[in-house]
Amino acid sequence: MILEVKNLSTSFYTRNGIYKAVKNISFSVAKGKTLGIVGESGSGKSVSQYSYLGLIPTPPGKIENGQAMFQGIDLLKLSQKQLQKYRGSKISIIFQDPMTCLNPYLKISTQLIEPLLIHKNMSKKQALILAEKSLEEVGISDYKKRLHAYPHEFSGGMRQRVMIAMALITEPELLIADEPTTALDVTVQAQILELINELQKKKETAVVFITHDLGVISNVADDVAVMYAGEIVEQASAKNLFTNPSHPYTKALLKSIPANHQAGEKLFSISGLPPDLSKEIIGCSFTPRTSHKTPCNNKASWVEIDSNHWVMKCPQCFELGI
């Protein structure tokens, strides 16, 4: 395992109370494998990843407990200075919106070689050669000239390719793709996914793929963790999860994919809102989303229903479904 996160909890101490954004989650990623993390907005997908990278602003954020073993070192015990050596060199991130993630005033070349200059102690010349190669790898035509262009001269898809090149230029062991295709249109989306997949195979990078698009997950992930209200509610191999979804939330997510509907049929959506994370949740957090509105006082428990297929099981809501 490249990364093993255990019992990670992150909270935000705000004026309006303590938001428990991530509660006791555990997951792991192996070399060359992809872990998909799905969930709706605010379910803690991104926070769960940024926590162990020191990218959560503290205060208001605070990592309550947990362990994140990366190559035998607990990242949660490192200082910001020490973490800087990991970020961008051993662990890289691709962000959601390529339009805003590049500095508009600097040339692509300057931004591409930055991780090399600070992490690998390369000379500018060496770094530029590598940068050229990396642009070629991500499929930018005319890359020799494009290298010296500015971000505003690139389209959205091309910028995302640049972001990928930038993330992979230091050959990281772990790549975190935070909704890398959400801001792109569908055709470009497919190309970008293919590109990430291809580069991952070539370099045996472990990938954590965050998205709310189950269609994307089914294409790229080896394992899937479904997050809801700061918890992982179901975790299994992609194959198991899609053939045998067990948590009602996973079922509902699958049900709401437009492609699973008949033409003219009303699109399915999950009723209700996720619980307020600043309040203590008594019983099962999924109650407000189910059709029966009476509060459920059962404590959900983490159960293995199949080999390596874990579900957060609440006896009451589980049977009722949505």
Binding site: L53, L55, L83, Q84, K85, Y86, R87, G88, S89, S92, I93, F95, D97, T100, C101, L102, N103, P104, Y105, L106, K107, E114, P115, I118, H119, K145, R146, H148, A149, Y150, H152, E153, M163, M166
Partner: protein
Amino acid sequence: MSLQENISEIAEEEIGTSLWKDAWIRLQNNKMALIGFFVLIVMIVLAIIAPLIAPYSYEAQNLPLGPTPPSWKNWMGTDTFGRDLFTRVLYGGRISLAVGFVATAVSLGIGIAYGTISGFIGGKLDSVMMRIVDILYSLPFILFVIMLMVLFGRNFYLMFLAIGAVEWLTMARIVRGQVLTLRKQEFIEACYSLGLSNKRIITKHLVPNILGPVIVYTTLTIPSVMLLEAFLSFLGLGIQPPMSSWGLLISSGVDTMEEFPWLLIFPGLALAITLFSLNFLGDGLRDALDPKAAKD
């Protein structure tokens, strides 16, 4: 086919135009700003080479000659001591422009450093630093200058300090505001994810991005600084004769403006032209560097 070639040719030329270059191109299309820019350069050059081109000495008096109106011999006439006004305006430009640029540079340096730190670190430090600015803001400027004069005596360099001490406040506020909005931008967050240190993020990524508004504000600060100098000299708190500055020339010109109006008109014109040029240039720069206009 030929159209395609054309397009690819244009595209080739376009690659690698920075926002700065873009802004420069837009500035060139703004006639007034361009004229302002060149007039300003002429003014600066004239001030620099003043000792070489001045026809007379700026302090040698010629009392028998007295005040004479503009003539071929004295282009701008002479003052009540018989000194050549053209020479004095040239030398006065040296002081006025120097005060304008140096004091602005001082305010720029302090303002950018202060504002960036305050905005970037934020939290309690930010509140404390900004309250200090508020307190300094509330000090009456003239009182402050007079206090400095009392403490250190009349001194040319004191004026830089006095003006710089007032002007950096606004600069710090502007920079802080810019940094606050930039700090939350995703490309800065992306910098963190690449493992960049705070120092590198500030110097390499933040400061270049705030330069646009800062440059614009600078071109507007220089005139206000020059006016302050004129104002201080006018009150007798700035430059002392026989040195001259535009402010000083204007103030002595005012005394005799009914009998010898040229003594007021020429230094006034010099100051006005410079201020106009700076304002036009500042206006043009603001339009040219506007990120919203950058997309056309």
